[in-house]
């Protein structure tokens, strides 16, 4: 419960009067307010700056320093104020949290100083309001990254006892670590460049000798180029094998883009070695040589910029895809139009729609080669429309893509923020966990505590009652009273998730096994009320939960069978539950209904050894009592 609405609790309780005429059972007694009602001003002296607020404002969040009795440690008797030796500027936002219920993060504040203040005052940072949470998380992440980078730099210097394999891998990934790595890095770079150059020069026609006609260098100096190629491929193969050996996760390495590029770069050579003699496949072999140009992509290991470009293109894929799609649409439309417009004229180049594609593309990108030109008037008109719209189509997405690039740079940072969406759920969960005191689980827990209190009253052990009456704030007890009233009005109880699911399972199983006598459902609301009037919530231990369906719709025979089984299990249960069975018996005699309803409240198997001594003797009587009752 957000304590900002603590002021509305009296209203909610007053409005509960609306349930009273509808309820069929008496309501529980309201918790009494022992404390003084009048509000007082508290003075908080933070390093000389005095803040004043009402006591009830601070009491809204009882699990923080200021809201709990922990502040008594800082009370100064002489000046009658609470003195904190902390930063008064940060304290402003902390005190505002109590006043408004929202914690804000001031942007001028250093993130680690703010965190420390929050920790000191016992406030979890997840409560920071949505308006400031993103900023807070950003700054925190930046800080963490900066610290991490500093740590990494330090770590690079020291490398104790790394295996040979790990050293190699680090050398490959980070060439600046050692001179060997640097040498290797430059050597491979050099050979990549050589390889690409040879591929290019191979095709240049060089030197027309009188004996032979002009032929590309590759065919003239076949041996030389072949040796060059072999050397490069050898180097690349060795490099690939070394990387494969050093990789921490070989499977992952083989799937990575860079290694695929490596493989594609060296494969054609080996295929060529294998297949040189076969004339039919040599045509295909020549095509494979094209893949040698992929060696240029190996440069991306050497260039950070290439990698970022590749990454941004990848993230921009959807926008590019949309652009491509709209372009395709435009091309098809105009090609069709041009084809039909030019169909009439003779010796036209627009022989088919696909043939017109080429014209459309060339015109829309304002290239205008002139190899295909419309001759009819209609064709010319549509051709001009095509080129005009081409300008629009090409020009408009460019700023979009440019802005995309700048957006993607930030998106790069924000990819972590997208992880924050999942973190958002974790954050809400953490807030919920930290506030269990007032939430419904807190309510269920307090019900258990009340129950245990009653039992202890019956057995007369006073000490433990004191223990269990933990300081629950008045607010919480009033809230719980409100929820209790609702339970009484509807004659149903709150249970937690797992019990509910177990109940669901049980009812589905039960519906297969037995026909339900309809009287149980009719008496439903009143019946349960009656049994509860005797304050007879007889909780059964968790171990016997699968037997619960007895309350729902069981024939009496089944009831007795199940209860006897309950009896068997008793010796294994905690002492508390055996005491409960005793009260069960007592309560049942009071109730006139033939229906035995048992409420499920899971008892935390808290180790309370004091009452264990008395348990065994009660066990047998309780079990016999149970059997007797169910025989009814």
């Amino acid at each position: 419960m957000a304590a900002g609405v603590a002021a509305w609790l009296p209203f909610a309780r007053a409005a509960a009067i609306g349930w009273m005429p509808v309820a069929n059972c008496p309501m529980p007694i309201a918790p009494r307010d022992h404390r003084k009602r009048h509000d007082e001003l508290i003075i908080l002296n933070v390093s000389g700056r005095r803040f004043q607020t009402w006591r009830t404002t601070l009491d809204r969040y009882p699990d923080t320093l200021l809201g709990s009795s922990e502040k008594q440690f800082f009370y100064d008797e002489e000046t009658k104020e609470y003195f904190f030796d902390r930063d008064p500027d940060s304290f402003r936002s902390i005190l505002n949290f109590y006043r408004t219920g929202k914690l804000h993060y001031p942007r001028y504040e250093c993130i680690s100083a703010y965190d420390e203040e929050l920790t000191f005052f016992g406030i979890i940072p997840e409560i920071i309001g949505d308006c400031c949470y993103e900023e807070y998380k950003d700054r925190k992440r930046e800080n963490a990254e900066r610290l991490q980078d500093d740590q990494d730099d330090n770590k690079d210097c020291k490398l104790p006892n790394m295996t040979y394999r790990e050293t190699m891998w680090r050398a490959f990934e980070n060439p600046h670590t050692s001179t060997m790595a640097l040498v290797f890095y430059y050597v491979t770079g050099f050979f990549i460049a050589i390889s690409v150059l040879t591929n290019v020069i191979e095709t240049v026609p060089c030197g027309a000798t009188p004996s032979q006609k002009d032929m590309p260098c590759g065919e003239r100096y076949t041996i030389a180029f072949f040796c060059m190629d072999t050397a490069c491929v050898l180097i690349f193969t060795v490099e690939y094998l070394m990387r494969l050996f050093a990789a921490p996760s070989r499977y992952q390495f083989m799937r990575s883009v860079m290694s695929i590029i490596d493989v594609v770069a060296i494969f054609p050579y080996y295929i060529g070695l294998v297949m040189t003699d076969n004339e039919d496949v040599s045509g295909a072999f020549v095509t494979l040589r094209v893949f040698r140009v992929f060696r240029i992509f190996k440069f991306s290991r050497h260039s950070q910029g290439l990698r970022i470009l590749g990454y941004t293109l990848k993230s921009c894929a959807s926008e590019l895809g949309f652009l491509l799609f709209s372009l395709t649409m435009a091309i098809i439309i105009f090609a069709t139009v041009m084809f039909y417009a030019e169909k009439g004229s003779s010796s036209t180049k627009f022989t088919s729609i696909p043939a017109s594609f080429w014209y459309t593309i060339v015109t829309m990108t304002t290239l205008g080669y002139g190899d295909m030109v419309p001759k009819t008037i209609a064709g010319k008109i549509f051709g001009s429309i095509c080129s005009l719209s081409g300008v629009l189509v090409i020009a408009l997405p460019v700023p979009v893509i440019v802005s995309n690039f700048s957006r993607i740079y930030h998106q790069n940072q924000r990819a972590d923020k997208r992880r924050a969406q999942k973190v958002q759920k974790a954050r809400l969960a953490r807030i919920r966990i930290a506030q269990t005191g007032s939430s419904c689980t807190g309510f269920l827990q307090s019900k258990r505590n009340d129950l245990l209190n009653e039992l202890l009253e019956l057995t007369g052990s006073e000490e433990e009652e004191q223990q269990l009456n933990k300081g629950m704030s008045l607010l919480e007890s009033q809230h719980h009273h409100l929820l209790h009233c609702l339970e009484k009005t509807t004659a149903h109880e709150f249970v937690d998730e797992q019990l509910y699911e177990q109940n669901c399972l049980e009812t589905t199983i039960q519906s297969y096994t037995s026909r339900s006598p309809s009287f149980s459902s009719q008496d439903g609301p009143i019946g349960t009320c009656c049994t509860r009037r005797g304050k007879m919530n007889s909780p059964l231990p968790n171990s016997s939960l699968p037997l619960q369906p007895s309350h729902q719709q069981g024939s009496l025979q089944e009831l007795s069978a199940l209860h006897i089984q309950c009896g068997d299990k008793l010796p294994h249960t905690t002492s508390r539950s055996s005491l409960n069975m005793k009260t069960d018996d007592v309560g049942l005699i009071n109730c006139k209904g033939s229906q035995i309803t048992t409420a499920i409240i899971s008892i935390p198997t808290a180790p309370s050894d004091t009452t264990d001594g008395g348990a065994p003797s009660i066990n047998t009587t309780a079990s016999s009592n149970v059997i007797k009752v169910s025989a009814l």
Binding site: V5, A14, M27, D33, T507, G524
Partner: protein, 212 residues
Amino acid sequence: ISFLYTCTAVLIFPNIDSVEDELELSAVRHRPEGLEQLEALTRFNRKELQILYRGFKNECPSGVVNEDTFKDIYSQFFPQGDASTYAHFLFNAFDTDKDGSVSFEDFVMGLSILLRGSVQEKLNWAFNLYDINKDGYITKEEMLDIMKAIYDMMGKCTYPLLKDDTPRQHVEIFFQKMDKNKDGVVTIDEFIDCCQNDENIMRSMQLFDNVI
């Protein structure tokens, strides 16, 4: 092609108008009447009114509660279920001048009846709450709506499991008790008579007298 681009343009800029509308709404402010008048109208003393107003204004700085804020606030007390339907009925019960918002006067007058009123007045208020269309009769449908709203607040994790006709059965029981002349509706007199004869209800009416 340009059609495509105009489409994307329309998609990017749709929200400007609604933002301006929202800005106008938030300029509504309300200041309540003076302390003396409120003291005369209600049965709270000065100090109590001060405490009430401070809490009220803290949660609603603009001085009025509209229905959505009301539903939010009320739902915070019932985390397991859905309190919005019941909050809607409550809101209508508090908003006596039917202007769509609960001002501090409405709030404090409602509370005055609930916490300091006579049993007759409280029962009157409850009848007003159940009578959704305020025609002086509670029909089974109205009661069923109210009952479903109350059961919704329990949520689904209850023991025993909530069946679909539990609210209807509860309404039947209610009508059996309240509807003396069996004409299918409950009038204010039948309601007050019956409640006054029921000990449980009488006792529970006094339950919250010391809330403030």
